[in-house]
């Protein structure tokens, strides 16, 4: 086959937008935070610790997204951890609602914040394998998205268990909701095997 002329790449490195705007940083400790700040030129600091009940969590990635389908409501997503132990991997995420409305007593469920949908997945890009939340004996292994609720500005902890990825990949992508951007290259902490 005759080779045809190809155009030179029209993409300059600066064409890709740095993480900015709603995307906050990523902090896997001070070194990572410094590395990121250097990469993006963004002076923002990493996510601050968040208390839920008596427990304080340190998100490693934080972003604020619209509630799917809504023009006004938003939710802050704080990715805490992804930990493999036994035959499953546990996802921990903090969700903070920012819904329109003046009633400070009105509560919003995780299901509300997900836009009345609930189908988180994790994806191992290296092996092209997608993992959904495990259902065992009719029980979905996650925080009940209808029962877990909170008020505006107050975070709630959401947990879900997926099958343990084969091959122990260093990272996976987390797709919390189809209307939100994927959380990519999320590190997995590997505990004991099944």
């Amino acid at each position: 086959m005759t080779s045809l002329r190809r155009p030179r790449s029209p993409l300059s490195p600066s064409r890709r937008s740095p993480l900015a705007g709603r995307a906050l940083v990523v902090a896997l400790g001070a070194a990572s935070a410094l590395a990121l700040a250097g990469c993006t030129g963004d002076a923002e600091e990493g996510p601050t610790p968040v208390a839920v009940g008596a427990t304080e969590y340190q998100p490693i990635l934080e972003t604020r997204q619209p509630v799917p389908g809504s023009a006004e409501d938003e939710v802050t997503i704080g990715l805490v951890s992804l930990t493999a132990d036994g035959s499953t991997v546990e996802l921990r995420v903090l969700l903070t609602p920012h819904f329109a409305g003046d009633d400070p007593t009105e509560s919003y469920s995780v299901y509300d914040m997900f836009g009345r949908d609930h189908d988180p997945r994790i994806v191992d890009v290296g092996t092209l394998t997608e993992y959904k939340i495990v259902s065992s004996s009719g029980t979905t292994l996650s925080t009940d998205p209808h029962e877990a609720e909170t008020v505006n500005g107050r975070p709630v902890l959401y947990q879900a268990w997926f099958p343990r990825p084969e091959g122990e990949p260093a990272t996976v992508d987390v797709r919390l909701n189809d209307s939100w951007p994927a959380l990519e290259d999320v590190p997995v902490t590997w505990e004991s095997e099944e």
Binding site: T2, L4, R5, R6, P7, S9, P10, L11, R15, R16, S17, P18, L19, G21, R22, A23, L28, S32, A35, L36, P49, V50, A51, A54, L61, T63, Q65, P68, G69, S70, A71, G86, S87, R92, S107, V123, V125, G126, L128, T129, E130, Y131, V134, S135, S136, T139, L141, T143, E147, A148, T150, V151, R154, V156, Q159, P163, P181, L183, E184, D185
Partner: protein
Amino acid sequence: MRRARRTRALAAGLGAVVAASLLSATAAAADEEAPEGFVPGVDPLTLDDLGGQPSREDLDRATTRLDPGVATTFELAGAVTSLEYVEVEEDEVVVTLETDVLFDVSSADLSQAAVERVQEIAEELPDGVTATVAGHTDSVGEEADNLDLSQRRAQAVADAAAAVRPDVTFDAQGYGESQLKVAESGDDVAEDRAQNRRVELRYSGTTPGERSIEVEEHDVDPVTAEFVPGDRPRVEPVEDVEPAVEKTVLVPNADGREEEVRVGVEPIVVRGSVMRLRVQLTPLGPVDGDEDRIRVYDMTGRGELHPSAVDPYTLVSYSPVRGSGAAKLHTDPVSAQTSVGGTVRYEVYLPRPVEPVASLYVNVAPTWPTFEDVPVVGD
């Protein structure tokens, strides 16, 4: 199970308690006291609360393995170079060119890549032959419009070919939708229509009396590569990424509604054995009467979303990677939604290019124009 049962028992009664407890606490107070009893979303769960470790069958049901082997080429090697396939019948050779990679929707203007490819084919023609160029469309739209479009496309191909082969006579003729190659029906109607949208270059070039029919189309072996993740987790909100190519298009529908959607294609990112294609969709007004909860499915014509990437220089087409049950590694278009003026992203994974490319053409829906020259970058 002990705590799970307890959760259900406590849930109704604790609602008011939880709300009151949350409201009385100061925001982000690290030293606040946990509410009494188990509170969903506040007290961490354990697997024991949910019934213990799941079975192997439960784990397997939640796992989907996807196959990258869907890079399809329409390129053939042989005596006559073809964009899609070559048929040889008696002494006549028919080269069929799929017009989706040659022309934009409803356009008869050849892209530069298409001109080069057509001319490459023309250079293979025998000296001094007469070649007919027949244009065909699918059955979508008005018959008269299709007839006119097919004529103009046939003429465009003939003109491009004639530019490099002045010794060959090219006779262009449009047939519109009068000679469909395949019936347009069933679940694969989009694929059927794509087959019908074609230009056929026909000439005598084999030994008279020889009778054979060859229809060649073959898959390209996908290229695999090690996936090297980034050194930190990341998220790219849709508003932070500038599309490489943007167009305003109409939502496909059979009701005659003219609802506009702004569609932007982000640079394609290669990740290991696959490449990530992201399409931003912004409804510019209500879609089918809805101002919010507008789904990607609605904006793409409820079943007309058929993303692909095409290398216009080698005519290799890339379709979404699929898993068991034809599952795609993509955003669920029924779940992804936004509101008027908001932007939602549709993301899908395709096999990585079989050879390094600077850019690809991207198709999203059959009635939308091709998004040309979308940059391809490494992760």
